[in-house]
Each structure stands twice: as structure tokens, then as C-alpha cells.
């Protein structure tokens, strides 16, 4: 078995379809400009259409066009709001896929770095079991909210961004970038579960969040250990983590902005070993990008264009 696999090589059963990661990468660097957002999504429309065809996201594509993610994934999950069920289902499915990739990332850290210190291997092995339970927990929670594995396209973006060939960067990407993002997402989900009085969801996600704090701590400790006595390596690792954090902010959707879909879980991250300086930096890095107002305006234009195209195509078909 070779070492270091590509994200395309993650094995999945027949239920799953892939979503191209390029859209997520582009979204991470988009400016706060309605025209740019519209033109970018328009450019990727055929690709988005292809990856949603035959999935539970297809009706959303039919209704909203290529920017359906802007009105689902990039919007906050608020009790009683229109479309919240779809948002919750997509979010649950996205987390489930993220947990799968976190399991795969931890497992690959054992195989890819056979000469790593034993304590590192123990931490990664433990993380494998934790992520296994998270996959199982989210399969149950998906069932709880009425969505199944493979209902939506899977983006392997998290694995792609986080899995470096350098062990210090791997733990910076997976254990601090990805698991840090998980802290934010799960704190937000617990908030929603409390709002709707869903004790099952709240308790399960709270356990998962507790595990994630441990995984972030693994990352904090191993970044220091792997870069000990090598300040250049440490700085390159920090830079890699900044890049990952920027990509995982999805154009400001995960940030400390007032209009963010998911806010940074400051308290949880502090408990997990992030410093105040790192969190201040994260808030600055993740805050760039289109505002919610821009996203909504762009989504409206894209929806109108999509409907116009559909009407025109139907007219041509009749003629």
C-alpha cells in the first residue's frame, strides 16, 4: 500500500457522488462584490448541475440554480425559518462526510508516518476510534433529521486541504484546521438543538464536541513537537494552518462577523489550546469575503437567470 493518497482516492460505496472542490476553493477567496459572485457561480453552473443531478440537492438546484448553496449551506440554521429543514439536512450530511474524512485523515497519519513517535501514533489511533464513533453518531443524527448517506454530493475539500505530506502540517491542517472548524460547527448545532428543544441532538453533538477539543489539543502539542528547534518549520506550519483556516472559512460564512452562518466558537477553542492571538488572527483571516447581503443579492440574480434559462429551454423544446 502506497503512502500519501489524493483526495480523489477516498473510497466510497455506490450511494455517494462527488462534488468538485474547486468551487469551495474559489468561494474562499471571493471579494465582497455581487457581480464577481454572480459571474463565478454562473461559470461553474454546469459543473454544479452535474454533481447535484440525481441527488436530494437536485430540487434545490432546480429552484435556486447554481447558487443554491448560498441559500442553504451559507445561511445560518435558525429555528422556524423558511428552508431550515433543507439547511439542516445538508449541514448534517456535510458533517457526516467531514467525519468520514477526519477518520480517513487520522488513519492515514498512522500509515503515512511510520517513523513518528509512539505517543503520536497512540493519539492518532485514539482519534481513529473517536472519528469512527462520530461517523456512527452522525449516521444516526442524519436518520433523526430525515437524510441518508449519499443524499447530497460529497466534497472531499476537507481532506484535500488538510492532508499535507509533512507531519507537522498534517496535524496543523487536520487537528487544528479541520477539528477547529468542527468546534465552530458543533457549537452552532448545539445552539440550534437547544432552540428547538432536541435533547437527543444536543447531547450527542456535545459529546462529539468534547472529543474534538481533545483532537485539537493533540494537534497543538504535535505541531510544537514536530517543529521543536526549527523556527522556520514552525512558521511554515503556521502559514499552512492560516491557509487552511482561510479555506475553511468559506468566504466568511464561518467567521466572527455578525452575519456569519457559523460563528467562531471562541470559548471552546480556548479550552482546546488555541491562544487569544491565534483566535484574533483567525477572526481577521476568516472575516474577508462576501457579506451575507452580497450573497443574498447574488443568489437572487442567479435564481432569476436560472429560471429564465429554464423558461427559454422549455420554449425551444416546444418549438
Amino acid at each position: 500500500m502506497k503512502r500519501f493518497i489524493q483526495h480523489e482516492e477516498l473510497a466510497r460505496d455506490s450511494r455517494f457522488v462527488r462534488q468538485q472542490n474547486v468551487m469551495t476553493t474559489v468561494l474562499a477567496s471571493m471579494p465582497d462584490d455581487i457581480d464577481v459572485v454572480v459571474e463565478t457561480f454562473d461559470k461553474f453552473a454546469p459543473m454544479i448541475e452535474e454533481s447535484t443531478r440525481g441527488t436530494a440537492a437536485w430540487p434545490l438546484f432546480e429552484k435556486f440554480g447554481p447558487a443554491f448553496a448560498l441559500v442553504t449551506l451559507n445561511e445560518p440554521i435558525l429555528a422556524g425559518q423558511e428552508g431550515v429543514e433543507d439547511r439542516l439536512k445538508m449541514r448534517m450530511h456535510g458533517i457526516f462526510a467531514g467525519e468520514l474524512q477526519a477518520l480517513e485523515g487520522a488513519g492515514r497519519s498512522l500509515w503515512d508516518f511510520p517513523d513518528a513517535p509512539w505517543e503520536f501514533k497512540m493519539n492518532m489511533a485514539r482519534q481513529c476510534w473517536d472519528e469512527t464513533r462520530h461517523v456512527q453518531i452522525y449516521e444516526k443524527l442524519m436518520d433523526h433529521v430525515g437524510v441518508k448517506a449519499g443524499d447530497y454530493p460529497e466534497s472531499t475539500f476537507l481532506f484535500e486541504c488538510a492532508c499535507s505530506d509533512d507531519p507537522a502540517m498534517r496535524v496543523a491542517g487536520v487537528n487544528r484546521g479541520l477539528e477547529g472548524l468542527a468546534c465552530d460547527v458543533f457549537r452552532d448545532l448545539i445552539r440550534y438543538a437547544e432552540d428547538i428543544g432536541d435533547e437527543t441532538m444536543k447531547q450527542a453533538v456535545d459529546y462529539v464536541l468534547a472529543d474534538e477539543l481533545t483532537h485539537v489539543r493533540f494537534g497543538s502539542e504535535w505541531v510544537k513537537e514536530f517543529t521543536k528547534g526549527d523556527p522556520d518549520h514552525f512558521e511554515r506550519t503556521q502559514e499552512f494552518r492560516r491557509t487552511v483556516d482561510k479555506q475553511f472559512s468559506f468566504g466568511g460564512s464561518r467567521s466572527d462577523r455578525e452575519d456569519a452562518a457559523i460563528r467562531i466558537a471562541w470559548e471552546d477553542r480556548l479550552e482546546a489550546g488555541f491562544s487569544e492571538e491565534e483566535l484574533t488572527e483567525l477572526a481577521a483571516i476568516s472575516g474577508d469575503g462576501p457579506s451575507q447581503k452580497t450573497m443574498i443579492a447574488a443568489a437572487q440574480i442567479l435564481r432569476e437567470r436560472h429560471q429564465a434559462r429554464k423558461t427559454s429551454a422549455a420554449a425551444e423544446a416546444r418549438a
Partner: protein, 230 residues
């Protein structure tokens, strides 16, 4: 102390004994263990390093395979087994300093010979997502049953009193290993649902058993160790 009351502690004189009943350390409950086993301190330490080598590599291989296996319950099942194997390797490692191997020996693994290293790499070789049967067969039909047989024999033949800490560790590892073998068997029974797939399982198992016998197994002494392979 008055002369009439029972003595609580022995004194120096022959009449200054306590009155407590005398038992052997093996009387209650009756304990039939005897001193002397097949392995001395050095050979037990070498075997523990051999066992640790196998457990550590199974942990790493399982970790690597998780991403390459499409069947979800196999992925998640392996995720737990990776942690179990890590604990087994860790327990074995902590026994090494107790066997005069030095403080730093806790993370020492040692292959019995080059053939065994090559065998482990052969177990790890299947990579493609359509090779779950070959992956699971190698580890759960061949390697783990072999280890269970060797652990079982070691547990019975080592000094039952002096080497009890190794026996206790093997107890834990064998309990987990039996569960792993049962899990692998269930997975393979489910996945091998055609004659062609059952033949793949059989062929892989035969090939690897031959390779294991050739290198002498986990300790390099298979002729003495593993009746299950014969």
C-alpha cells in the same frame, strides 16, 4: 503485653510466635501454578518485542486501509480495531522495561526476521477499493488467528508465577483479538456472497499461510508455535 492475650506480632524468641493460622501463598483459593516455564527473561523480552511489532503494524495497516475501503461498516469497524491494536502494542511496550530492556524500550518493536517483515508488507499490500476481501482475509483470517494461537501457547507455557504480568497482558490482547477475528469472519461471510468471492478469500488465505509458515511466524519459530496453521 500480658502473657494471656494472643501475640499480634512475632518476637525474637521461639515462644514469641503469633497465634495466627499458617497457610501457603497458594492455599486459598487453591492455586496449582508451579515455577519454571519455557521462556527465560531474555526470550520473553524478545517475544514481547516480536508481538509488539505485529500489533503496531496491524494498527498502522488498519489506519492506512480505512481510506481505501468503500464499505462503511468495514471502515468504521477498522477504526475501532486500530485503537485496540494500539492499546495492545502499548501494553506490550510497557512490559519491556520490566524485562530488563531499559527505560526507553517502551516503544521498541522487533521483527523476528526479514521474512516476517516481508510477510507483514504482503498483508498490507492490497490497496485498491475492490480488494476489501483480500485486505480483511490477510489480517483477520491469517495474521490475527496466528497471533492468537501463539499468544495462547505463550500464556500456557511461560512461568505462571514469575511471568504473570505478561500473562495478564496477553489475556487482554487475546480477548480483543478473539473479537477482531469474529468481526472479520462476519465481514468476510457477508462480502463473499458468490463462489468467485469465496475463492478469492480461500486463495488469499492459502497464499499468506504459506508465506507465514515459510518465515516462521511472528517469533520465527512457527513449527513449535502454531498448531492452527497445520
Amino acid at each position: 503485653m500480658s502473657g494471656d492475650s494472643p501475640r499480634m506480632y512475632p518476637g525474637a524468641g521461639p515462644d514469641e510466635r503469633t497465634t495466627f493460622d499458617a497457610y501457603s501463598a497458594f492455599d486459598v483459593p487453591a492455586d496449582l501454578r508451579e515455577l519454571h516455564g519455557r521462556y527465560d527473561v531474555e526470550s520473553t523480552a524478545r517475544r514481547v518485542r516480536n508481538f509488539r511489532y505485529a500489533e503496531e503494524w496491524m494498527m498502522m495497516i488498519g489506519g492506512g486501509w480505512v481510506a481505501t475501503i468503500p464499505e462503511l461498516p468495514v471502515k468504521t469497524g477498522l477504526g475501532k480495531i486500530v485503537w485496540d491494536d494500539a492499546q495492545s502494542a502499548d501494553q506490550l511496550g510497557h512490559r519491556l522495561p520490566e524485562l530488563r530492556c531499559g527505560k526507553r524500550s517502551v516503544s521498541t518493536s522487533e521483527a523476528a526476521n526479514e521474512g516476517l517483515s516481508a510477510f507483514i508488507q504482503e498483508v498490507a499490500a492490497p490497496e485498491s477499493p475492490d480488494l476489501t476481501i483480500e485486505k480483511i482475509t490477510g489480517m483477520f483470517d491469517v495474521l490475527k488467528p496466528h497471533l492468537l494461537a501463539v499468544y495462547d501457547r505463550m500464556q500456557r507455557e511461560t512461568d505462571q508465577i514469575s511471568d504473570a504480568p505478561t500473562i495478564e497482558i496477553l489475556d487482554d490482547i487475546m480477548r480483543r483479538t478473539r473479537k477482531h477475528i469474529a468481526w472479520g469472519d462476519e465481514v468476510l461471510d457477508r462480502l463473499c456472497d458468490t463462489d468467485g468471492k469465496r475463492e478469492r478469500r480461500r486463495r488469499r488465505s492459502v497464499e499468506l499461510r504459506e508465506a507465514l509458515e515459510k518465515c516462521g511466524g511472528v517469533t520465527g519459530e512457527i513449527a513449535d508455535e502454531s498448531p492452527r496453521l497445520n
